[in-house]
C-alpha cells in the first residue's frame, strides 16, 4: 500500500448551481470521515464523485486530488489500479451467478488470485445470521446476506486504500464489526450515515444540504464520550435482538 495518501475534495456547486461553501477538504490515511445530511440532500452524490475521482466532469463540478495531484485516467477506471472501493446502498445482486463463480470473476477483475474466494465467504458469514454457501445463487441471498458478502468482498478482494460506505446501518448486519473490517489498517474511510454511533466514530463529518458541502464538524471530546456511551446502549440493543432471534426469553435489564 502507498506510503503517503491524501485525498482532496475541491468544492463545486449545489443543486442550484451556486458554489458550495466548503471549497476544500483534505483527508489523510487512517482517518474515518462522516457525511451527514437529510435524505436526498446529496450525500450519495458526493460518494459517487469520490468513487469516480471526478474531475469537474460530473453535475456537481467537484474535483478530486490524490496526494495533491490530478489522478491518471487509468487509476479512475481500471479495477486493478483502483484506489477506491465502494459499499453502496444496494442490498441485492442482480447477476445470475453462483457466489463462488462471481467471487472468482471479481478477484480476476481486480488482478487477485482465486485463493481469496473462501476467505470472503468465511468473513461474510461472521457478519450475517444465516450462512452463505458457495453454491448459492446471488439472486436468492437475503438483503443482510448480500450486504455481508459485499462487505467481505470489499475487505478481502477490493482492498483499496480508500473505502466508501453508504448507510451501513440499514444493512441488517453487525455494523460496527463491518466498519472495523472495512477500515483495516491505514485506510481512508468515508462513511455516509444517519447513525449517531457511526457518525461520532468519525473524526470529522461533512454536513450536506441542497447538494452542497455546508460545513465540516470536528468530533469534540464531549461527542467522543457520548459515542462511548451510546455504543454500550447499541451493543445492548443488539444483544437483545439476538436473544429474540434465537427464540429465547428476555430476562432482565442489564
Amino acid at each position: 500500500m502507498n506510503e503517503e495518501l491524501t485525498l482532496t475534495i475541491l468544492g463545486g456547486v449545489d443543486k442550484d448551481g451556486v458554489p458550495e461553501p466548503v471549497k476544500f477538504v483534505e483527508v489523510s490515511k487512517g482517518e474515518i470521515i462522516g457525511i451527514v445530511g437529510p435524505t436526498g440532500s446529496g450525500k450519495s452524490t458526493l460518494i459517487d464523485d469520490i468513487e469516480q475521482l471526478a474531475q469537474g466532469d460530473t453535475p456537481t463540478g467537484r474535483s478530486l486530488l490524490i496526494n495533491g495531484k490530478r489522478p491518471d485516467a487509468v487509476i479512475r477506471v481500471d479495477p486493478r489500479k483502483k484506489l477506491v472501493a465502494q459499499l453502496s446502498q444496494k442490498m441485492h445482486f442482480l447477476a445470475d451467478m453462483t457466489v463462488v463463480d462471481f467471487l472468482h470473476m471479481h478477484a480476476r477483475s481486480r488482478g487477485k488470485g482465486p485463493e481469496l474466494v473462501d476467505r470472503v465467504i468465511e468473513l461474510a458469514n461472521t457478519l450475517t445470521g444465516e450462512p452463505i454457501s458457495p453454491d448459492h445463487y446471488l439472486t436468492v441471498l437475503s438483503g443482510g446476506q448480500s450486504r455481508s458478502l459485499m462487505t467481505a468482498d470489499i475487505a478481502v478482494i477490493s482492498d483499496s486504500p480508500v473505502v466508501l460506505i453508504d448507510e451501513i446501518e440499514n444493512a441488517g448486519i453487525k455494523k460496527q464489526e463491518a466498519l472495523r473490517l472495512l477500515s483495516g489498517e491505514g485506510k481512508i474511510v468515508v462513511v455516509v450515515t444517519h447513525d449517531p454511533v457511526l457518525a461520532l466514530m468519525a473524526s470529522r463529518r461533512i454536513v450536506i444540504r441542497n447538494g452542497a458541502m455546508m460545513d465540516i464538524i470536528t468530533t469534540s471530546r464531549e461527542e467522543q464520550d457520548v459515542c462511548g456511551r451510546i455504543t454500550q446502549v447499541d451493543n445492548w440493543l443488539m444483544s437483545l435482538r439476538d436473544t429474540i432471534r434465537r427464540g429465547e426469553i428476555v430476562e432482565e435489564l442489564a
Partner: protein, 232 residues
C-alpha cells in the same frame, strides 16, 4: 466530417446517453446532427429536437434496420453536411445481435445495460466485440463488484475497447464520451464494414410465412448446427 454509430440493445439507454453527450458537444462548440433509425415508430426525434440540432428519422419498416442503416450511411452524411453539421451521430435501432453496422472509419459505440447481468457481454456478439467504446449504463443500480465483474466480461470479448461508465439520468460519462467523439476519425470514401453481415439468404428473407421445414430453401442451419444449402 465525423461519423458516430451508436448501437446497443433496446432500453439500454442509448438515447439518454446520446442526449447528454450532444449537450457536451454543443458546449465545446461542435455542430452535431442526429439520425435516429428505428423499425416502426419512434418519438426520440422530439427529445433530440429540444437541443436545437438537426434531427432526421429513418424508419426501416419491413427492411432489416441494420441493413437499412448501412446502405443509407452516405445519405446520412450528405444530409448532415447540407445542414451544417461536422459530426453525424447515428443511433441505430439495436435489435438483431448478428449485424454490427459499424463502418471502419467511424467511432463505434456500443451501449450496454449492466443490470442485464454479466452473461450479457457473451451474448451480444459483433455489436460489442467490434466497438471502439463500450458504454456501461445503469451502474448505479448494482454494487461496485458487479460493475467490475461486468467490465471484466466486456474485456474478455473486446480486449481493446475503451469502457465508459455512464448514467443516462445524471449525465455521468457524457463529458468523456464527447471528448472521444471530438477526437474520432474522419469519414472517408469507400468505407467497409468491420464485420460481415449474415451470409444466409433463405426463403424467409423473401417472404415465406409457412413454418414447416419442407417449404424452406436457401442456406439453412439445422438445430444441431449442421449447415446445408437447399435449392436449385
Amino acid at each position: 466530417m465525423k461519423l458516430v454509430v451508436l448501437a446497443g440493445t433496446p432500453g439500454s439507454g442509448k438515447t439518454s446517453v446520446l442526449l447528454h453527450t450532444i449537450r457536451s458537444l454543443i458546449k465545446s462548440g461542435k455542430k452535431p446532427a442526429v439520425v435516429k433509425v428505428d423499425c416502426l415508430w419512434t418519438d426520440d426525434d422530439q427529445r433530440f429536437s429540444k437541443l436545437g440540432i438537426p434531427v432526421h428519422v429513418g424508419l426501416a419498416k419491413d427492411m432489416c434496420p441494420d441493413h437499412f442503416t448501412i446502405y443509407n450511411t452516405d445519405a446520412m452524411l450528405d444530409w448532415g453536411a447540407s445542414n451544417g453539421a461536422d459530426i453525424v451521430l447515428n443511433e441505430t435501432a439495436g435489435l438483431c445481435l448478428r449485424c454490427a453496422p459499424y463502418p471502419d472509419e467511424c467511432l463505434a459505440i456500443c451501449v450496454i445495460d449492466v443490470t442485464t447481468g454479466p452473461n450479457t457481454p457473451l451474448k451480444v456478439g459483433p455489436l460489442l466485440t467490434t466497438a471502439d467504446i463500450v458504454v456501461m449504463t445503469k451502474g448505479d443500480l448494482v454494487s461496485q463488484a458487479e460493475r467490475e465483474v461486468f467490465r471484466e466480461r466486456v474485456l474478455d470479448v473486446n480486449p481493446g475497447c475503451i469502457i465508459v461508465e455512464a448514467n443516462g439520468l445524471t449525465g455521468k460519462g457524457a463529458f468523456e464520451l464527447a471528448e472521444m467523439v471530438t477526437e474520432g476519425p474522419d469519414v472517408c470514401e469507400n468505407m467497409v464494414l468491420r464485420y460481415n453481415p449474415p451470409l444466409a439468404i433463405c426463403s424467409l428473407c423473401t417472404g415465406e410465412t409457412r413454418v414447416a421445414r419442407k417449404h424452406h430453401m436457401g442456406v439453412l442451419r439445422q438445430l444441431d448446427g449442421f449447415m446445408e444449402y437447399r435449392g436449385e
